[in-house]
């Protein structure tokens, strides 16, 4: 039954047009429009854990950028073998416990040896040796604190075991070094200018000296027996000195014929300028003379003697650069490969799928190893590692792009675009690809912690060797510490903390992104 059209018959002039002579437009939206990314951002900020993780990542990145900028150039390249493997120390925070100390057990003999370094540092020509008790006030006294004193029986003799915290920087004590005569003068001038002592008298080599020829010889300035116990000479015979607070060690400095202390020994060289002198320096002050600063290493030093904070910063930087580069390149290759696969389908898809099926099954560690063995010598480890990651890393991205393309390519709006004459390329990138962006970004971010982890693992295992004099990777730091970390825990702790933080934060950040980009979760959190 067809409906009859009812024509309104309005003749009444009480009616008039409501909007006569007014052009009508759509009203402007009062509220701000929300795009896909804006929406995702709002959802992301609601996830507290992810926000905190993002902030921590930001801080770590800032750390990696700022530390190399503020570290003076002479510290960046400074590798001091005597100050290697030391703990955190900073003179400003010295009282707060960042004092480079290490707690160990000591006997009478070894504790005296540590105290003696402080005593010798207070040397002056009028009073060469002070009472042990007085040396505790010395700035250069390595013994910071004696925590425990225990008596133990060893056989029939009672021996005392001290648990003491020793400043390992000051504990380096004195060293013999070779310098040129001109430098000797420079040090002398520097001493006067800063009112600090660098040069100390040489030690005699006689029946009372210990460790002659070893690196520690400069520290045995007091008379000892052949077991390194301190002795005093009574009527020409050495008598053992028991350890006490009041003890006064007997000095064994070298003197010339007129009885004065000897500060240098000529060891060779012709003219006055090039003449070589052997001198005995207090290493702490020699360091100050050399680098114009006290040895302040807030995170300690690494296994070779580089500043740990600088090495950490460069390590984080390198690891992040590798990770971000890999993630970016995988993103691009994966997107193109997956788009072609998914869009064209058919034989193209089948062939390309088979190729990626085979590539994905090659164990990653074998890929890295083969790349390293073949190309590391030619293009360097870093490039090799990047290529190894990229050669198989894009497959995951490609397959997720492919799935999305299969989902969207038969939708009506794609058909509409094709009817309007859009080219394949335009349909792929303008119409279908934006749908895959959310998942793609999430998976690209989640690649970063994976790369950081596997890089550190490969460096640790020694398959990849990334470290050199100017930079290092976190894995290399861990691998350097792996044999010795039980004696020097700080070498392991700092890189391990940073790497764990990075992993946790990137995972949280990635999870937050995934939740934010996944519209299925929309509304569920409210």
């Amino acid at each position: 039954m067809a409906k009859e059209k009812v024509q309104p018959q309005i003749v009444d002039d009480r009616f008039s047009f409501a909007n006569d002579k007014v052009e009508l437009h759509d009203q402007k939206l009062e509220t701000k429009s929300r795009g896909y990314f804006k929406d995702a951002f709002i959802r992301f900020t609601k996830n507290k854990a992810s926000v905190v993780a993002t902030i921590i990542i930001g801080i770590i990145i800032l750390f990696a950028v700022i530390v190399p900028l503020v570290t003076p150039a002479n510290v960046q390249s400074l590798m001091d073998p005597y100050y290697a493997k030391k703990g955190p120390r900073n003179t400003t925070f010295y009282a707060m416990g960042i004092n480079g100390t290490k707690v160990d057990t000591y006997t009478d003999r070894t504790l005296t040896y540590e105290y003696a370094k402080g005593i010798a540092a207070d040397f002056n020509e009028e009073k060469p040796v002070e009472v042990l008790e007085d040396s505790k006030k010395s700035y250069y006294q390595p013994v910071v604190n004696i925590e425990k004193t225990e008596q133990t029986m060893q056989g029939r003799t009672v021996s005392t075991i001290y648990t003491a915290a020793i400043d390992k920087y000051l504990s380096v004590g004195f060293k013999y070094i070779q310098i040129e005569q001109s430098k000797y003068q420079v040090i002398k001038d520097w001493e006067n200018e800063h009112n600090l002592k660098v040069l100390y008298p040489l030690v005699a080599e006689n029946q009372y000296s210990f460790g002659v020829g070893t690196d520690e010889a400069a520290n045995y300035w007091y008379k000892t027996n052949d077991k390194c116990d301190p002795v005093k000479i009574v009527e020409g015979e050495p008598v053992l000195m028991p350890f006490s607070e009041k003890m006064v060690l007997e000095e064994n400095y070298l003197r010339d014929s007129s009885g004065n202390f000897v500060f240098y020994k000529y060891t060779g060289g012709g003219s006055t300028e090039t003449a070589q002198y052997k001198v005995r320096v207090l290493y702490y002050n020699y360091y100050r003379f050399m680098y114009g600063r006290e040895p302040n290493y807030i995170f300690g030093t690494d296994s070779q003697g580089y500043s740990m904070i600088y090495r950490l910063a460069t390590g984080v930087r390198l690891s992040l650069i590798v990770a971000v580069l890999v993630s970016l390149v995988n993103f691009i290759i994966g997107a193109i490969y997956g788009a072609i696969e998914g869009y064209y389908g058919g034989t193209t898809d089948l062939v390309m799928e088979r190729i990626s099926d085979i590539l994905v099954e090659v164990p990653f560690v074998i890929v890295v190893t083969l790349f390293q063995l073949h190309f590391a010598a030619k293009v360097g480890s870093f490039v090799c590692l990047l290529f190894a990651y990229i050669s198989t890393g894009w497959i995951g991205t490609a397959s997720s792009v492919r799935t999305q393309f299969y989902r969207f390519k038969n939708q009506e709006y794609v058909l509409a675009a094709r009817t309007l004459g859009a080219s394949d390329r335009r349909i792929m990138w303008k119409h279908i690809f934006p749908n895959t962006l959310g998942t793609l970004i999430t998976s690209s971010v989640l690649v970063i912690p994976g790369v950081i982890f596997s890089e550190s693992m490969l460096s640790y295992l020694g398959i990849v060797k990334l470290g050199d004099a100017t930079s290092t990777s976190l894995g290399t730091l861990l691998s350097d510490a792996s044999q010795i970390w039980t004696s020097y825990p700080s070498l392991m702790i700092f890189p391990a903390i940073i790497i764990s933080l990075l992993m946790i934060c990137f995972n949280l950040f990635g999870n937050g992104l995934r939740d934010a980009f996944n519209p299925q979760l929309r509304g569920s959190d409210e």
Partner: protein, 320 residues
């Protein structure tokens, strides 16, 4: 079903063959090093000539394949243990890897699944939050960091275990199954387990929370089942469909082990053999190790796919 399995197997063999071929050419193209000893050099050179190492690479490949199929000969170790067949060197190292990983799985599977179920049941309560936070920590922190932590705490600080690395075979009485050996394996087992427990727990929780909100759970409750009855009879069964294949793949994965854990605890396993073969450039061992790892990865993939069909009768394999 059978057709699908056969098709998968054939594809797997093809992939395996291609990867092995690529690996073979990549490895054989590397320059070989001679030892310092002059007498040994002559002996090795003679062996290499006899084995055809100086012939064109394509001929070498033919010889390699022929030896594998006819004599199960995967080449010879030239560095790690001189002149010993590679298969034998490898064979000795499978057992320690498998034992350590097996212990770790026995320990971590019940714990991981149990914690996951508990967290799912207590969803959004404090127990769930605690477990989820710990799981995120343990999934993210690299396994070698736990390895150092357990070494430091249980050996260097508390002295609960007598050693921080695994005993060698001679130290522990000539067998991998002695009590002494087991004690020395506790630390690596712990280090391996943390990640496994956390991963399983997260997966179980996610799957179970999904099944718990399904409609059939509501039906089960309305027909009069208690919450625990409904959970064990319906939700758990359904949640296990993706969990079981994951466990199966872990069991295959134990053959491969973890290189870094083996290195840290000096376990004489497959992973440390791989590292040794790279460091000493023992190419035949390296090749065999590559074959081994590839095979494990491929087998795990295919077994998981097929197991879905057996575990869940609703899934018809090979259908689009």
């Amino acid at each position: 079903m059978l057709k699908y399995v056969l098709k998968r197997l054939l594809l797997m063999l093809f992939t395996f063959f291609v990867i092995i071929t690529i690996c073979f050419f990549m490895i054989r193209l590397l320059p070989r090093e001679m030892p310092q000893d002059k007498n040994l050099q002559a002996v090795i050179q003679a062996r290499w000539d006899a084995l055809g190492y100086n012939q064109p690479i394509i001929v070498q490949y033919g010889i390699y394949l022929r030896d594998i199929f006819t004599r199960f000969d995967f080449g010879t170790s030239w560095k790690i243990s001189l002149m010993k067949p590679a298969a034998e060197v490898m064979g000795e190292r499978i057992l320690p890897t498998v034992i350590v990983n097996l212990y770790s799985l026995i320990f971590s599977i019940p714990l991981g699944i149990g914690l996951g179920i508990y967290a799912a049941i207590k969803k959004n309560k404090w127990q769930d939050h605690v477990i989820s936070t710990i799981v995120i920590l343990f999934v993210s922190v690299p396994s070698y960091v736990y390895a150092f932590l357990v070494q430091y705490i249980f050996y260097f600080k508390l002295r609960w275990v007598p050693t921080n690395v695994m005993y060698s075979l001679a130290d522990a009485g000539g067998s991998y199954f002695t009590g002494k050996m087991f004690v020395s394996m506790i630390l690596p087992i712990l280090a391996l387990s943390f990640g496994e427990i956390a991963g399983l727990c997260r997966f179980t929780r996610a799957e179970l929370t999904e099944t718990l909100t399904q409609d059939y759970m509501l039906l089960a409750r309305t027909k009069g089942l208690t919450k625990s009855q409904a959970t064990t009879r319906h939700a758990l069964k359904n949640a296990m469909v993706p969990i079981l294949p994951m466990i199966i793949s872990s069991f295959i994965g134990i053959l491969g082990g973890s290189m870094i854990i083996e290195q840290i605890f000096s376990i004489p396993g497959v992973g440390s053999l791989y590292i040794m073969s790279i460091n000493q450039l023992d190419y035949d061992i390296f090749m065999l190790d590559s074959i081994f790892y590839t095979l494990i990865g491929l087998t795990a993939g295919i077994v998981v796919d097929i197991s879905y069909g057996f575990i869940d009768p609703r899934i018809k394999m090979g259908q689009k």
